[in-house]
């Protein structure tokens, strides 16, 4: 029996999405191969990118070893965002936690002004995550989009409950959208179809929700793997968008990450690596050391 290397080639190409503008811009997606399958026919012009997450208020429940790299700046999100750049990140992600009605219910104007100040203070693109409260986000995110006019921030989550209001503001003010749906491929496609009726698909990034190791990671892993394959192998237009894995917050919620530093770094690092192998194009982590650990693992010699 003769061995012939089982090299594969696919018909689909993930849309290439640009976030940020000018020298602060970043391209994600654009691949027609599965993750790290450099041996197949095709290419990935933009390997997976990494962002660090900051929060717009003093984080309430972070363990000491997660606070440590940012100890002196953690109460000032603008400085915190700048500090992230010391760790070779491709982007910074701000989570507008304080706007959550269940947290501080901070007003939209305040969040928008802070977002603009952060975006202007860093040399990489900014990702903006609202609180996830669909009603409050419909107030906060359009305001952020407006105040940061033309900066092409990556803004979300755009949900099936608020996609019209939030999506329109993101489009009108020149930004890119994160379309988020809860771990279900049909809901994910449905949202992209609805959003795509007025929103350019090359400005959509998919967030299928990321679960942490031990807390449902396998669901995110298999869903991302499927979304990627349905896009690249079967050329389904509504899944041929880059995927964002916003995993840091989920990982550091885990008791196992909080109780020991090394275990925490591996918790976040392995979740990141798994979701990258599944097909995430942009990964948002919290700890600079798990970020470098993830990047360096793929260069293991």
């Amino acid at each position: 029996m003769e061995y012939k290397a089982p090299v594969e080639a696919y018909a689909g190409v993930v849309r290439e999405v640009t976030i940020g503008t000018g020298r602060k811009s970043l391209k994600i997606g654009g691949e027609n191969i599965l993750p790290l399958h450099f041996f197949d026919e095709g290419s990935n012009p933009n390997p997976a990118r990494f962002a660090l997450e900051i929060i717009d208020m003093q984080p309430p429940d972070w363990p000491k070893h997660a606070v440590e790299p940012f100890q002196d700046v953690i109460s000032d999100p603008v400085k915190w965002a700048r500090r992230c750049q010391d760790f070779t990140v491709d982007a910074v992600s701000i989570y507008l936690m304080s706007t959550d009605p269940a947290v501080k219910d901070a007003p939209a104007d305040k969040a928008a002004a802070l977002t603009r100040e952060i975006a202007e203070g860093i040399d990489v693109p900014l990702i903006v995550y609202g609180s996830g409260d669909e009603v409050k986000d419909a107030e906060v995110l359009p305001r952020v989009a407006e105040v940061c006019e033309g900066m092409n921030l990556l803004i979300g989550p755009v949900l099936k409950e608020n996609y019209e209001a939030v999506g329109k503001a993101i489009m009108d003010h020149g930004h890119t959208a994160i379309a988020q749906s809860p771990l279900d491929i049909n809901l994910l496609k449905e949202l992209n179809v609805k959003l795509g009726k007025f929103f350019p698909p090359e400005r959509i990034v998919i967030d299928p929700l990321s679960s942490a190791l031990g807390y449902g990671m396998e669901y995110s892993f298999s869903l991302i793997e499927r979304v990627k394959q349905i896009g690249i192998i079967t050329k389904d237009s509504m899944t041929m968008m880059p995927i964002i894995a916003n995993l840091g917050g989920e990982c550091w919620k885990a008791k196992q990450a909080k109780e020991n530093k090394e275990q925490g770094l591996l918790w976040e690092g392995m979740t990141a690596l798994s979701l990258l192998l599944a097909g995430a194009n942009l990964l948002v982590l919290r700890h600079p050391e798990s970020l470098s650990l993830t990047k360096e693992t793929l260069e293991v010699k």
Binding site: M1, Y3, K4, A5, P6, E8, L36, H37, F38, F39, A102, L213, G214, Y215, G216, M217, E218, F221, S222, L223, E225, R226, Q229, K253, K255, Q256, N260, E262, Q263, L265, L266, W267, G269, M270, L273, S274, L277, A278, L293, T294, E296, T297, L298, E299, V300, K301
Partner: protein
């Protein structure tokens, strides 16, 4: 690549409807063979040659190999899919701890203790590492034999024997052959001399070659000799190369039905990575990318747990949600005035709720209703978590004998079952709407517990 019944029927006698196999026609028998519902020996009219050919056709595309013996036997291989969402992965990779014969006594003792003692309870299962790999590096054969003897006596675990020196390798094998050790590496240089020695005392064989294609003549040669319990190492030098090699082996076996690569694989993060965290990270890549034996130079509880959970996650069957048993669970040491919460039996739901309750340090009862492993909202939507059903369960769970108060907390997401549940409990219980998310338990539960205590 499963073989079709129509292919098999061509090889059956087919001339007479003898029904000796128990099926009405050869075609019916062939279909049963193809689906795994019958065995070849049921047909008495097959020549040995045809029988062998059929057995080969019907063999699983990736061979099942067993390393170790008794309760500690580890089965690897026999996988059916490339991606877990296509069906499921079946045989978890063996997490293996390396001991070099260059290590001092204290180091060896320490690792023996680790393999014996490191284990973690995790949602109803017990996670632990599987095998020890013993590496001949010292150049002193007596030292290596002493290590093999020591480990063989001190533990019951399955073993991987690693030695470039064939005399040492097979001498070590003879010490622990009862344990079905994997002998590694057999290479193109050593294969001819190794064949008679393998046959003298057959145990699984690890093959190493420079690249996937170079493994093919080795597995073919051993198969001709009837040696088929093989484990493959394509000799990848870099993690990205390893992903390529593992992918090619898996695709060749499953998509091309290419028999010479239809065996499980072994991977060595211990030799690929230099620092311990990166080694564990590389190990996690091999869990995702199909390696069946994964060898680590060392680990402790904090670096091992993430790897074991990673393995559990990836090898969980995606067709069946993980579920826990229907009953009330105690968190801490609850008494007659402790809070009572109710939720569904999806393992993840239970796990999140119980960790959140545990974190509050408030002892409590969690009543877990069987909802076929669905989460709260999905279970309610599917009619598995209605007020009536929860009520019936609460009554028969025995919780009424454990607490004096009659207040039960339901998840905020199913606030709408409150009335129906109160009716089902004959208005004897007050149903309290809890937080929507488990993250809300931290603020909610201590206040509720205080209220209960205040009243009792």
């Amino acid at each position: 690549m499963p073989v079709a019944g129509s292919e098999i029927v061509k090889m059956l006698p087919g001339k007479k409807p003898c029904k000796d196999c128990g099926y009405p026609t050869c075609f019916a028998f062939a279909m049963k063979l193809a689906s795994g519902g019958a065995t070849v020996d049921k047909c008495p009219y097959l020549s040995d040659e045809v029988k062998a050919k059929l057995l080969d056709l019907l063999a699983p595309p990736i061979r099942l190999v067993t390393i170790g013996s008794g309760d500690n036997a580890v089965k690897i291989g026999n996988e059916e899919v490339i991606y877990r969402h296509e069906k499921t992965f079946v045989h978890s990779p063996a997490i293996t701890l390396l001991i070099s014969d260059k290590e001092d006594d204290a180091g060896v003792e320490g690792k023996i203790q680790k393999i014996k003692e490191l284990e973690f309870p995790w949602v109803g299962v017990n996670l632990k590492p599987d095998l020890l790999a013993l590496h001949f590096e010292s150049g002193d054969k007596d030292r290596f034999m002493a290590l093999v003897k020591k480990v063989h006596e001190a533990t019951d675990v399955g073993l991987v024997l690693i030695s470039e020196d064939m005399d040492a390798l097979f001498a070590a094998r003879d010490i622990c052959a009862d344990r079905q050790p994997l002998v590694y590496p057999i290479t193109k240089e050593s294969i001819e001399a190794a064949i008679p020695r393998i046959k003298a005392n057959p145990t699984p064989v690890g093959l190493r070659a420079e690249g996937v294609d170079a493994l093919v003549p080795l597995t073919t040669r051993l198969k001709d000799e009837g040696i088929e319990d093989l484990v493959l190492d394509p000799g990848s030098k870099h993690l990205l190369d390893a992903i390529r090699d593992q992918t090619f082996i898996r695709r060749a076996a499953l998509k091309q039905g290419f028999r010479p690569l239809g065996y499980p694989t072994i991977a060595f993060p211990c030799f690929l990575a230099k620092d311990s965290l990166k080694e564990m990270m590389a190990g996690s890549v091999f869990i995702n990318k199909w390696a069946s034996v994964i060898v680590f130079s060392d680990f402790d509880g904090h670096s091992l747990l993430p790897i074991l959970v990673q393995r559990l996650n990836i090898y969980t069957d995606p067709r069946f949600p993980m579920a826990v048993e229907e009953k009330y669970y105690e968190v801490g040491a609850p008494d007659e005035s402790s809070p009572v919460l109710v939720t569904t039996n999806w393992a993840l739901t239970y796990f999140l709720v119980s960790s959140a309750v545990e974190a509050t340090k408030v002892p409590a009862y969690i009543c877990v209703k069987d909802a076929e492993g669905l989460g709260v909202l999905t279970a309610w939507a599917a009619g598995k978590f209605s007020g009536d059903m929860v009520g019936t369960f609460v009554k028969k769970s025995g919780i009424e004998d454990r607490v004096k108060h009659r207040k039960i907390i339901i998840p905020g997401k199913v606030a709408r079952i409150k009335g129906e549940l109160e009716d089902a409990l004959n208005l004897e219980w007050e149903v309290i709407i809890g937080p929507r998310e488990t993250t809300g338990i931290a603020a909610f539960l201590p206040a509720h517990a205080k209220e209960l205590k205040g009243k009792s």
